[in-house]
């Protein structure tokens, strides 16, 4: 009696599970079988609804950008369309989280063929989103006429590449950035170093660090390492050094494995740590990057490798996260040198890394033409100037940059001198794992392992991540 009824309950439970699974499966298939929209769909619609999403939120993360959508982009665009007799309702979906969490949310939306019509995304995600079928080239979504947009002639090819994958353009770039060495001129004066310092090699950096070390209470050098800082270790540490050692992380279809360039980079880190030029705690603590910023703003860091956003948003005396009142007088900047003069990729003396985001069209938009119009509006000089609101930032457009950067010598330096020597990350789905492996290798050095051990472990991790030794160069 009992066994039979036990069986009965189990069968019923299983049946419920099976039914739910079937329902869900059917529903999921139903949605995914709908085909993408054609560029001309709803082109003549008089009532249009559009949505924009980005990782910004009023009163929180990137609030300026969120306010710009709400107070400028949406009302102005709506008015312009109204004049043409089109009734558009644009809504903005904010987010205020880690980039990875935002990426996850957008990917989930796109996977379900839903989501905002226009999405602000990091350029590094374009490749993996395109490979997953989440994004389509602009010409596929909005038609061949997108190539005639006036803005393309204003955006340098290298910056356009930030919103492209395999020579196809997926969106309009928002801007770019560059990485440099910042230094504290006051500390430099105390250490007997010049105010117009420009190291020619890694050895020059070490030499300067040794002099700074003599000042008590000072962290001579901060070049990010370790896993706690995540991508900041890769972008503001390993990769600029790697291009200075003559290798890009991915080129010719192969990833850097346990190569000489990688070992050179790790050896440099090892030297910094062994000589006591880097503060280990900054590299290991969960909030180590914040601590290093605060220390720099307090005048306790000699040299620090960062992007231009450090200048604009971190140590900005007006509204920075770690405001430095004496920024304009005390902070100097220099190119990141190659390991030795001429040892950088392509025989360069100075190197940098860049990234940048852009605005992308959702291939599932109901109103491709109107979304494209909104996208052009977002990329127009007027809109960009409204976003900058008098502050200086390197935008995608040269016509805008010429005006806004002239007042800021530092950003002019980045835009005119650094961007020509810069490099970009490969936008492939396995890149984040390779990046994690690079971070791990530096963490190994920080925790005292030898260069050989760290490089070997790194090589093995990369092979595993990218799926085979044939995709990894190892010499």
């Amino acid at each position: 009696m009992r066994t039979i009824s036990t069986h009965g309950v189990r069968t019923r439970v299983l049946a419920v599970v099976a039914t739910s699974l079937a329902l869900v499966g059917a529903a999921a298939c139903d949605r995914s079988s709908s085909t993408g929209t054609s560029p001309s769909q709803n082109a003549g619609a008089k009532d249009v609804t559009l949505t924009i999403t980005s990782n910004s939120i009023a009163g929180g993360k990137n609030a300026d950008e969120a306010d710009w959508y709400a107070k400028y982009v949406i009302p102005t665009f709506t008015k312009q369309q109204k004049a043409k007799g089109v009734n558009v309702t644009v809504t903005f979906q904010p987010s205020g989280v880690d980039d990875e969490q935002y990426k996850t949310k957008v990917a989930l939306d796109l996977k379900s063929r839903a989501g905002a019509d226009i999405m602000a995304l990091d350029g590094i995600w374009v490749g993996e989103f395109a490979q997953a079928g989440y994004l389509k080239p602009l010409t596929d979504v909005a038609g061949p006429s997108v190539t005639s947009w006036e803005g393309w002639s204003q955006i340098p090819k290298a910056v356009q590449a930030n919103a492209s994958f395999e020579d196809k353009t997926y969106g309009i770039p928002a801007g770019t950035d560059g990485r440099v060495l910042y230094f504290n001129k006051k500390l430099f004066a105390q250490a007997g170093l010049p105010a117009d310092w420009q190291p020619k090699s890694w050895q020059d950096i070490i030499d300067a660090g040794m002099k700074l070390k003599a000042i008590s209470g000072v962290n001579p050098i901060q070049i990010n390492a370790g896993t706690a800082m995540g991508e900041a270790t890769t972008m503001q540490g390993v990769l600029p050094l790697l291009v200075g050692a003559g290798s890009e992380i991915y080129s010719g279809g192969k990833w850097q494995g346990d190569t000489k360039a990688v070992r050179d980079v790790l050896t440099f880190y090892k030297t910094l740590l062994d000589q006591g030029l880097e503060n280990k705690n900054f590299q290991q603590a969960a909030k180590g990057r914040d601590q290093s910023f605060a220390a720099f703003a307090a005048g306790k860091v000699g040299i620090l490798l960062e992007g231009d956003y450090f200048w604009r948003s971190v140590i900005n005396p007006d509204n920075g996260d770690a405001p430095m009142a004496s920024r304009n007088s005390d902070v100097g900047w220099a190119f990141i040198p190659a390991r030795e003069p001429g040892s950088g990729v392509g025989g360069s003396n100075d190197v940098s890394m860049s990234g940048g985001g852009g605005y992308f069209l959702n291939p599932n938009t109901k109103y491709p033409q109107q979304a494209w119009e909104l996208l052009q509006f977002i990329g127009s000089p007027d809109a960009i100037n409204a976003l900058l609101h008098g502050s200086a930032k390197i935008t995608a457009r040269q016509d805008v940059n010429e005006k806004v950067l002239s007042s800021d010598p530092f950003l002019s330096f980045v835009s005119q001198k650094v961007l020509p020597v810069t490099h970009y990350r490969p936008g492939l789905a396995v890149y984040p794992q390779v990046s994690q492996a690079l971070q791990q290798a530096t963490a190994d050095i920080v925790s005292g392992k030898s260069v050989d051990e760290a490089a070997k472990a790194y090589g093995a991790a990369v092979e595993k991540a990218v799926g085979g030794a044939d995709k990894v160069s190892s010499s």
Binding site: A58, G59, G96, V97, K105, K111, S112, S313
Partner: protein, 267 residues
Amino acid sequence: MGRLAITAFVAAAIAFWALPMLWLVTAPFNSHPGLDVSWPDWTLENFRKLSENPYAFSSLKNSVYLAVGTMLGVTVMAALAAYSLSRVRIPGRNTILYGLLLLSSIVTGTAAMVPIFQLMFALNLVDDRSGVILVLTGGLLPAAIFILKDFMDATPKSYEESARVFGATPLQVLRHVVLPIVRPGLATIAVWALVNVWSDFLTSYILLRDPTKLPAGVVMYTFYSEGGQANLPLISAFSLVYALPVVALYLFVNRRYGFRFHGGIKS
């Protein structure tokens, strides 16, 4: 145990539990709060800044909505299920209960977010607060049933039997005899469920889109800069505002129902 030993232990316990909380009392009133405890200058500036945030206070309303919805769902369904499972020997009940308890650990983890999102999308429950309530309720129910069943097992059956003798229907027995006895236990489960929802970030973040629907757990994460730096003036002030409702709820439940598990009349 000697009086002295007891006093020392109690003093140590108070210090151990109270000291980490000092930050919540000082930092919100400090004009430059840092990650340390220092005597504040008792300014309300941080709260003024917070009041300019368009989502801070509406998010608390959303949190209340999600938390109360989940709390009611979990408490009512868990009570009914726990009582039935306790009083009627449904075959395989313990195995099923253990199994569900274990599965609940998968669903609360990061890896389940894709299935959960796709499920809710298929059910057209994305950007719908009911969807968040359903997912959270599903995740909390097994443990709630588990605890309540244990608890129902421990209450004496004699009252129910006498009520039956006087002609009460089973549902009347449940309502008028059993529920009053287990009320402190229900209150505990209710608060436990509510507190779990009050902390939630990932489920709400993944499933909601409209900023006016976001709960406090998500808004708490927006007070960071582009580079991931914490905006401590806003965070400290919001922490206090975000903590107060659950503290008030605890004090209320504690006064009203006695916030404790009940086991004193185990027969």
